[in-house]
C-alpha cells in the first residue's frame, strides 16, 4: 500500500515523496502512518502519526498528512481566504468555483497553513476535518 500511496500522490498532486518512504508504515487495513525509522522496532500500541487513509477514490490526507506532504503538491491544492478557511475548520463543505482542480482528493490551505484534505465532486469540496478538530 505504501508504493500505491507514493504513486497516487505523484499522480494526484504532481509531487515526488518517494524519499520519505522509510518513514511510512501501514496501520490496519487502510491507514498509513509516519514513524521515525528508529521507532519501527519498538513495542507499543500506537506509533507515530496518522497521515493518510485509503478510500475508494484513492487516499485522503489527515491534517498532519497535509502539513507534512502539502509542500510537495504542485496541483489540486485549494487556497482559501480567511473567511472560507474558518468555514472549512468548522467542518462545512466548500463550494468551489474558479479553481483549476480535478475531481478527487484536494489539499486545503490558507496562506502557508495546510488544513487537511477533502473530496472535490466537481461543485464543492466535501469536508474531512474530523469532528474533534473542528472549530465551534
Amino acid at each position: 500500500m505504501i508504493e500505491e500511496f507514493i504513486s497516487w500522490f505523484k499522480d494526484r498532486f504532481g509531487g515526488d515523496i518517494s524519499h520519505l518512504k522509510e518513514f511510512f508504515v501501514v496501520s490496519g487495513e487502510k491507514r498509513i502512518r509516519m514513524v521515525s525509522p528508529e521507532s519501527k522496532g519498538i513495542n507499543g500500541i500506537i506509533k507515530g502519526i496518522y497521515i493518510a487513509k485509503k478510500v475508494p477514490f484513492g487516499f485522503s490526507l489527515s491534517i498532519e498528512g497535509s502539513q507534512i506532504l502539502g509542500k510537495y503538491a504542485r496541483r489540486n491544492v485549494v487556497s482559501l481566504d480567511k473567511e472560507t478557511a474558518l468555514v472549512w475548520m468548522k467542518g462545512e463543505d466548500i463550494p468551489l468555483e474558479g479553481h483549476a482542480v480535478d475531481k478527487g482528493t484536494v489539499i486545503i490551505k490558507y496562506k502557508w497553513i495546510f488544513m487537511g484534505s477533502g473530496y472535490f465532486d466537481g461543485q464543492r469540496v466535501r469536508n474531512y476535518v474530523p469532528g474533534e478538530r473542528r472549530l465551534e
Partner: protein
C-alpha cells in the same frame, strides 16, 4: 517546561517518558529531538492515553511510540535500553496551588504518604529501564520531601549518582539534605526546588540522576 530541558534528549536517542499523559513534555522532547530517534510515551490510564494520542497526533510527533502499562513494570517490558528517562511523577500537586485551589483542598499527609510509595516504585522501575550511564530526570509539582528528596534518596541507595545542573534563567533552591532529623546524602543538594515566588511560576522539584555502570 523545565524537566525536558534538564533531561536534554538528543536526536536519535531512545527516551522513556514514563508517566507521559497528556503529553506536553513528550511533545516538547519530540521537538528537541528534531523528530528523530524514539520516545516511548507510557501511561497506565486508557482515558489519559486518548488525550496523549490526540496531542501526539496534533503536534506531528512521528518519533513517539505510545505504550499502555503500569509504570512499575516498565523495566520488565523493555529491559535496560533507554538512553534517558523522564519520570514526571504523579504527586500531591501542592506546587499548583496558585493555579488550582483544589490542590490544597485535596492535600493531606495520608495522600503524601500513599503517593510517595507509588513514586518510589515508579522511580525504581524508571531507573532500572536506563542503560548503564544513562540519565534520568525525576520531577514533581510538589514540595513534600517524602515525594521528592526521599524518593531520590531511594535511588541513591541503589547506586544512582545525583548530577548537578542549572536551568538558565530560572532561580532555584538546593534540595534538602536533612528531613525530620534524618540525614540524607549530601548530593541531594544538587537537586532543585523551584518555589512559586522565585520566578512567579508554579512550584516544582527536579532531580537529575545518572545510572552508574556496575
Amino acid at each position: 517546561m523545565a524537566p525536558p530541558v534538564v533531561l536534554n534528549p538528543r536526536p536519535g536517542e531512545l527516551i522513556l517518558d514514563l508517566a507521559a499523559a497528556p503529553g506536553s513534555k513528550t511533545t516538547q522532547m519530540s521537538e528537541m529531538m528534531e523528530w528523530r530517534g524514539t520516545i516511548v510515551a507510557n501511561d497506565v490510564s486508557p482515558s489519559r492515553i486518548n488525550a496523549l494520542s490526540s496531542n501526539i497526533q496534533r503536534m506531528g510527533c512521528m518519533n513517539v511510540v505510545i505504550n499502555r502499562a503500569d509504570g512499575r513494570r516498565i523495566h520488565r517490558i523493555y529491559g535496560e535500553i533507554f538512553d534517558r528517562v523522564l519520570l514526571d511523577a504523579p504527586c500531591s500537586s501542592i506546587g499548583q496551588v496558585r493555579r488550582s485551589w483544589e490542590a490544597l483542598k485535596r492535600w493531606n499527609q495520608n495522600l503524601v504518604e500513599r503517593i510517595s510509595v507509588l513514586q518510589r516504585d515508579l522511580a525504581i522501575a524508571a531507573y532500572k529501564a536506563l542503560k548503564p550511564g544513562g540519565l534520568m530526570v525525576y520531577s514533581t509539582c510538589t514540595f513534600d520531601p517524602e515525594e521528592n528528596e526521599l524518593v531520590v534518596q531511594s535511588l541513591v541507595n541503589r547506586g544512582a549518582e545525583v548530577v548537578k545542573f542549572d536551568i538558565p534563567g530560572l532561580k532555584t533552591r538546593e534540595g534538602l539534605v536533612e528531613w525530620e532529623g534524618v540525614k540524607l546524602d549530601d548530593s541531594l543538594a544538587y537537586t532543585r526546588r523551584i518555589y512559586p515566588h522565585l520566578n512567579d511560576t508554579e512550584g516544582f522539584y527536579i532531580a537529575l540522576l545518572r545510572k552508574v555502570p556496575i
